[in-house]
Amino acid sequence: MTATTATPPATDRPTPRRAPGGGLPARRAVIRWAVRLFRREWRQQVLTLALLTVAVTGATFAVSATYNMASSSDATFGRADHLLQLDGGDPAALDSRLAAARQWFGTIEAIGHRYVSVPGLFDPIDVRAQDPAGAYGPPMLAVRQGRYPAGTGEVALTDAVARTLRTGLGKRVSLDGHDRLVVGMVENPRDLTDEFALVDAAHADPPKTVTVLVAGGRADLEAFRATIDGPLVRESRPGTSRTVIAATTLALATVGLLLVSLVAAAGFIVVAQRRLRQLGMLAAMGATRRHLRLVMLANGTVVGAVAAVLGTAVGVAAWLLVAERVETAAGHRIDRFDLPWATIGAGMVLAVATATAAAWWPARAIARTPIMSALSARPPRPRPARRTAVVAVVLLATGVTCLLLSGGTRPVLISAGTLATAAGVLFVGPAAIRSLAAARGGMPVAVRLALTDLVRYQARAGAALAAISLALGISVAVVAGSAAADYQAKQAAGLGNLAEGQLLIRIGRPSPVIPVRTPEQMAGLQAQVDTMAGNLGTPTVTPLDMAVVASYTDPGEPGGQPGHPAVEIGTPVADRQHMTTYPLYVATPELLRLYRLDSAAVAADTEVLTVRTGALELVNIPERRVYPKTQALPGARYSSMPNSMVTASMMSRHGWQPTRVGWLIEANHPLTEHELTTAQNLAASAGFTIESRHERASLGSLRTGSVAAGALLALGILAMSVGLIRGEAAGDLRTLTATGAPRRVRRTLTATTAGALALLGALLGVVGAYAGLASVLHRDLDALTDVPVAHLAATTLGLPVLAAVAGWVLAGREPPWLGRRRLD
């Protein structure tokens, strides 16, 4: 081989004047290397990448969903800015006001409404006269099938109205005194619960009310109102737009992204430690601290960019897949491609910025590492735990204070408190590691060595512990928070509305006015109830009566039946100006039997038996301020059961009459889906409303999922960091092996490292999560008494054991680097 040159290399430098720090060429070279390293070693960062991707996916999906799920004011206003409600009772006055509005606003759109009662139905049908080509209304109207009506004899119906009238496209229907042909199926695409029958506006009957849509400023509207004599019902489009809602969602997602970034920071620390020698080499070549920082920051940016692109793509794809299926839940039609791209773009930028920021701390620490320490891959000397403990105390105090002040309702304080508490828990890590290591005396040598290594390699162990604590802390917060939510819901709703075998049948809808019915009508209804009961085996049927003031007849709703007011019981609300009222049933022997009572158990002077406490007053009666003498009603606390009853003596004293309002059917088995459907069909045909047990959303699966996700994440972090720590301590392992230590020692070292980190992480996570929750719920600490023991045990005991076992099993094979020192 020949290698020679006679030319001095001094001429190799092409540019004589250069920026002191290398300028753009240096930055470009450093970034190029960082990108190459990412492409080469991306598997080392797959956990961080996956975590960020999931966070971005969640944020993108949430932003897309809230943007599209949010109810739009277009449902009411169309393209208009305001609406006026005019009474059609006086046609001349109506014409005059419409003319005034037209003159004032220029273009207006009037939509007429007539409310038509249909036999057997309690809610009248809105017969709507609207021009499909109106100035402002088109967003509120769409044809699903057929066409819009034209002329007096045509009508278009919404699905529900068609079902109610038992008609359909191409059939005839008698409505509002006209025989009409159904020529179309229509809907309000912005509000699928808006049910109506659409008629040709040019040939409609005089309306009962008219909605006038107008455009203009708020001041314009108020100026117009000043020109009108008498009341004018008006409404303006609310200021909160879908974009604002989506942006708010993004702001909330940002908090989640920041929490994830703390885990990502721990991941970047591990990556930085892995690259320590190469970074030392770069420094030896003349790279400045800024260049070293840039390597890690560029890595963070690349990870963030990849996560942003992947996460956004997955989030948007997920939304496109489910968009159509959530239209019913949203209550309006959804254009799946109508996405808040600017907000989603902002989310992507935020993800990149968050990942870059997460890489900042590791980058700073690495840049400050002495070059020789970096070249020899010596971990930085552990800092005194006292310093980080002080920071932890300050952060925890700040976090708890913010959460206390938030009262559970102020998002900014909750976000700040959550982040400060999370950061505080992370800073406790080094002190926790040292405390655990301090207790190693008297333990087997392998355990002692493993615990000592945790302190020796505190930078890596601390980062891993921080990430594990955070992952498990979030998991525990979800578990404990959902348990608290369940507790509060249970407190609010008791055992639920009804038992699983109960069916509550009401004649019509609950109303303070009970229609007067003939004995024949009642006999017919009773027959229907008997039929329903017959379909449920041999249930107990308890008739339910309410006390009515027979001396007063209420004319009822327009087009409805007259009736008598039902006596109700009320409790004053906080302002003392209003009452919350509850139905008051007649304490019949059958009803008392439901509560395992007989007449003898009711005190002679008792006027009302009730589960309610506090000041109670009878309402819907001619007399004022009647406070009955009450007796507590024992037994189950199903909220829809007849929970207040008036005694016969009270009835006779006031001259109230019992009137049948419904029945309670109790089957001896939980009602099946089929039985409920049959009962619903019978009830619809008879004009009943029925109520069965509402299934309460169970948060149990959420808790299990949360524990599983937290455990998986923690195990991933452990897999990433335990190998690194044990690799660093390879020299000790070589020495142990050389001195004849068996394979069991190697297993114990790894198992102890993994188990100790998992245990500390779980404990810190639990403490942090409960500290945060207790601060938020400090006014209702009882909510935290329902401790999800199984889930917490899985986290605090199961996970460390699992980590230790996994470490023990995986450490069985002798690593290839054990016999010789690793080169680059």
Binding site: A3, P9, W33, G286, T288
Partner: protein
């Protein structure tokens, strides 16, 4: 000949109190342009510490280090980094090349860090690789190079640009004798071109390639000598005119 490296009464103490260890004690060393100095000594004698202090990777506890006449101890961290980019080249026993960069990119990196455009730096890197007979390996990544090739690329990187001082810590320690000799020829050739070289080695035969051998023991310079078989003799007949 002008002194490229001048170490005056340099001492280095690691740790403090009872744990203090003196790695270097009042070492004086001057290396002129074109001179190759070998540092020999037992383990723990302070050879590597001397090299890292000479290369501004570490600061001495006491004494002065001048590179090209500039006192390193008065320089800021950025100025020392600039000095390393422009005037000092390192060759370590292992871990010399950055993974992810090809051979020519590794060679060009110090120039790019110093602000030379990527194209010009690459051209300069290729030129040096050609001069050292490694042109065909220019686009290979470190994983694809043999141990000897990696060391030779590292030497190319250490001499690219206006380097005045080449510091090599056991540069042949991980190589077989054939590759080790090839590397020594390159170091020798680089010094022939006017670069001052300092090489740490255990191997007396390799030290014989140097113009001067400095012996360290317990952090002190205990002897200096010129090898009886000088480098010119070793190179005779092998180095093209």
């Amino acid at each position: 000949m002008s002194a490229v490296l001048s170490m005056r009464q340099v001492s280095k103490v690691y740790g403090a109190g009872h744990a203090a260890v003196s790695a270097l004690r009042q070492v004086d060393l001057t290396v002129d342009a074109g001179e190759l100095v070998a540092i020999m000594g037992t383990s723990g004698s302070g050879k590597s510490t001397l090299l890292t202090i000479a290369g501004s990777l570490e600061e001495p506890t006491d004494g002065a280090v001048l590179v090209c006449g500039d006192d390193v101890s008065t320089m800021s961290a950025d100025a020392r980094a600039r000095l390393r980019r422009r005037s000092i080249g390192f060759v370590f026993q292992d871990l010399n090349l950055l993974a992810g960069l090809s051979a020519v990119e590794n060679v060009a990196l110090p120039l790019e860090l110093d602000g030379v455009g990527a194209r010009a730096a690459r051209a300069a890197g290729l030129r040096v690789l050609e001069e050292l007979g490694l042109a065909e390996r220019a686009t290979r990544f470190p994983d694809d190079l043999s141990g000897g090739e990696r060391q030779r690329v590292a030497i190319a990187r250490a001499v690219v640009g206006d380097r005045r001082l080449l510091l090599a810590d056991e540069p042949t320690g991980a190589l077989d004798s054939t590759n080790g000799e090839a590397v020594m020829r390159m170091l020798r050739a680089a010094c022939k071109r006017g670069i001052a070289g300092v090489m740490v080695t255990h191997d007396a035969q390799l030290a014989s390639w140097a113009d001067r051998v400095v012996f360290l023991r317990d952090g002190r310079v205990v002897d200096q000598t010129a090898p009886t078989v000088g480098p010119d003799t070793l190179l005779a007949g092998d180095v093209a005119p």
